[in-house]
């Protein structure tokens, strides 16, 4: 069953404080979080979070398209990196 709309999106409260602090500092920061269940809110856009996947903190650079999704969706817990082949990575 989907979450009731009247409750609003779920987010662990301390993330908002950390996000505000990171934005104010203006430094090149990664906010390490364990809260994979938290929803990505518009105020997180532009920040980088290190989302724990049980083994390591994978960097998640938040953009507009990710708003409404959960942090955990971008930090898989079961991974097979595979072969590089002709895959490319873009530096943003």
């Amino acid at each position: 069953m989907a979450r009731s709309v009247w409750k609003g999106p779920f987010v662990d409260g301390y993330l908002l404080n950390k996000a505000d602090a990171a934005r104010a500092s203006g430094r090149n920061e990664i906010i390490r979080i364990w809260s994979r269940r938290s929803t990505i809110l518009p105020q997180f856009v532009g920040l980088t979070f290190g989302v724990y996947n049980g083994r390591k903190f994978l960097p998640v650079q938040v953009n507009e398209n990710m708003v409404g999704h959960k942090f955990g969706e971008f930090s898989p817990t079961r991974t097979f990196t595979g072969h590089a082949g002709d895959k490319r990575a873009r530096r943003t």
Binding site: G8, R32, Q61, G82, A84, R88, R90, R91
Partner: protein
């Protein structure tokens, strides 16, 4: 990757693009595991013994394969010949890959590069490039183990020719879990609606 120096991105190295699997049917078709977007894009693929092959898809993961001998295609026509190709690894020369766009890099070029910090101290080697839909990140293992976002701020310099990247390690901020998550989260979320 085969035939390359520790800095795997050096031009002239070969990149593993696929592996031939079991035969399919009796007419020489084989199953091919591809690590590339489209294996048929490349003029030819070579194996460990420098034999050259041309590949044409005939179905989902099923290909017709021909060996290039003196410029002529000799088709693998029966199952017995196809069985001899099981587990043959297919490579392309790095030079055959199209030039990437600006600020775009082949993973094969990045993996193996030596990472230095901004003061010139060696951090380690890039062992993996992750991309799960939230931007690429580089995993560095060695004297310092770190995963850094592949951004201009964190990786200001990528020099594939000399096999090195400069990494500005970001500051790690730990978000504690001192507050009660559930009700706190709901309250905060409601106030931000």
């Amino acid at each position: 990757m085969a035939g390359s120096s520790p800095a795997t991105g050096v031009p002239g190295s070969r990149i593993l693009m696929g592996v031939i699997g079991r035969p399919h049917g009796v007419r020489g078709l084989v199953r091919v595991t591809s690590y590339a977007d489209d294996l048929t894009r490349y003029r030819w693929l070579s194996d460990d013994r420098e034999r050259r092959f041309v590949l044409r898809w005939r179905g989902e993961g099923i290909a017709e394969i021909a060996e290039l001998i003196d410029g002529n295609e000799v088709k693998v026509a029966d199952r017995t010949a196809a069985e001899k190709l099981i587990n043959v690894r297919l490579y392309v020369d790095r030079a055959q890959l199209p030039e990437p766009e600006e600020d775009e890099f082949y993973l094969a070029d990045l993996i193996g590069l030596v990472a230095f910090d901004t003061s010139g101290a060696q951090l380690g080697r890039i062992t993996a490039v992750h991309d799960y839909g939230a931007g690429a990140s580089l995993e560095i293992a060695g004297e310092t183990s770190a995963i850094v976002p592949f951004t201009r701020a964190c990786v200001p310099e990528v020099d594939i020719a000399s096999g090195r990247v400069t990494v500005a390690l970001p500051v790690d901020v730990t978000a504690g879990t001192s507050q009660v998550a559930g009700s706190e989260g709901r309250a905060v979320a409601r106030s931000h609606r």
